[in-house]
Subunit: 314 residues, 2 copies
């Protein structure tokens, strides 16, 4: 029975199951699943297919939502690369434990065959840095009042974790788990989107505002996080056989509607999202001796579901 | 050349490489590797072999350092389980993305064969909770002044990330990446150490003070974090073939000295450790447009090296 009991305990720890109220405890905090089950359809948004990328790996499909309001030039360049099939046949070349999984052209490497480097086609080889942007009052902003070690203000906008600094008037997306960034050289304008990485461990917040964040993985993270770590410097794979091939990368808008993922993302300015945050911040049930009382920006998952599904995938 | 340049950029981002000072920037911040290379031998400690567990997986060896000053009853019970070969032949049964990898008895599960549940031998089936302890002025304490979302004070003690609450007079280990916890049921005394988990994603700080933390993985994390995620509820593997067998688990002290890992851990009250933290908090080099200025407790790795090695493995 131990593991069954254990599962119950961890289900509660994960906020996925509530115990029935018992005499000496108040009614258990509703779980994310319960809150999502009661959510209104208008609290969910269907991402613009122009902003959705499908990266097909042998193990399955990864879906990335671009963030053109924060990195418009990178979003446009990445769409160009994808539409000209730049990524098709390239690979995941690096998995550094507790940091990032990165993909791109294996030949564009010190040990690669320079003569086989794939050309970028009509995409730009360099872009102006888009690490931060001027705070835009027209963009939705749901502040998280719990505080943050790295930024004066944190919260959510358009489904992404973000930060703001009123003193400088700037805002930026942050490197929470699943956020997709643009690898670059020392020169700030040296990123093009032809090599991307995703955060797979503790949020590397120390690189916030130093790299452009292109978007977020909204489906298929396990295909990127659950890979053997590379044994070369920085977690690069040392042998071609270790790399995971990218079979294809497509913009959802280029597929017939019937072939698109029917994904919906909970609006981060919705009452249900606020309730999910509060339920995780102050969880009261038979398992929790001490509710956390606070929650870190990067400990909050933005729920994603399929249009037909009544419950969240998260 | 792009990836070579990219590597340089990310090397710097990871603080693993410093650029030579150039005209328009001050001398680059020393890297962790450089600081470790200059460290004094007395800044490193060799963990007590009574507190080191070797978990042998087909892929390699995982080394766990127990934290008996925080969870003494759990450390003793886990040693008993290990010495009576409880874990030998058991398996990794769960890998939940961005949360935990967990191991224990696959038969002690709703779908398991109850008749084959492995007995705990002379180990205790239940233990008093050891989630927090009274602050002990005799234990080393290196405060981290950067602040924390979850706790009044955070810092390091004996190589482990920890938190303190002067108001309650309690201190506790926190669930940073690589910390090993004791799975339990709803009842606070229902954990025995017969099923353990390790944090493999964003630190699940919301469960701090609600579970006993037995120690930290100091070697071999990639063998636990780089596994395919389970597809069952909570990331449990649904088929026996998916589980990773535990070939054996041993206490280092029970092996001849020649067969023990020669691991050393940088003292968290050493000048070199403080310098590594500051170098990550305020990184100045050609790559960084904006140093973070702050650092989160769980973004700090406690360096581990082999006695013979001059450089850190982290």
């Amino acid at each position: 029975m131990r593991l069954r009991r254990l599962q119950a305990g961890l289900l509660i720890a994960m906020g996925l199951l509530a115990l029935p109220a018992i005499a000496d405890t108040p009614k258990a905090t509703p779980t994310a699943k319960e809150l999502i089950a009661k959510s209104k359809s208008e609290e969910w948004r269907t991402p613009d297919p122009e902003n959705l990328l499908y990266m097909q790996l042998p193990q399955g499909r990864v879906v990335i939502e671009l963030a053109p309001d924060f990195t418009p030039l990178h979003a446009a360049n990445i769409r160009t690369l994808v539409r000209e099939h730049y990524f098709d046949g390239l690979a995941i070349i690096r998995v550094q434990d507790n940091f990032v999984t990165q993909w791109g052209d294996p030949n564009d490497d010190d040990n690669g065959d320079k003569s086989k480097i794939k050309p970028l086609g009509s995409a730009k080889p360099k872009l102006p840095p888009e690490y931060t942007r001027a705070i835009d009052a027209k963009l939705p902003w749901t502040p998280l009042p719990d505080g943050d070690v790295y930024a004066p203000q944190v919260g959510f906008t358009e489904g992404f974790p973000a930060a703001r600094d009123p003193a400088s008037g700037r805002e930026w997306l942050v490197h929470c788990y699943g956020m997709v960034g643009v690898a670059r050289d020392v020169a700030p304008d040296s990123g093009s989107g032809s090599s991307l990485y995703v955060a797979i461990g503790q949020a590397p917040r120390q690189i916030d505002r130093n790299l452009a964040i292109a978007g977020r993985v909204i489906e298929g993270m396990p295909y990127l996080s659950g890979l053997p770590r590379g044994t070369g410097p920085l977690g690069f794979y040392t042998q071609a056989a270790q790399r995971v091939p990218i079979l294809s990368m497509k913009v959802a808008a280029d597929l017939p509607a019937a072939q698109r993922e029917k994904l919906q993302v909970l609006r981060t300015d919705s009452a249900t999202f606020s309730a999910i945050i509060e339920a995780k911040r102050n969880r009261h049930d038979a398992f929790y001796a001490l509710p956390a009382g606070k929650i870190d920006l990067c400990n909050i998952d933005v729920p994603v579901r399929t249009e037909s599904a009544a419950d969240s995938k998260h």
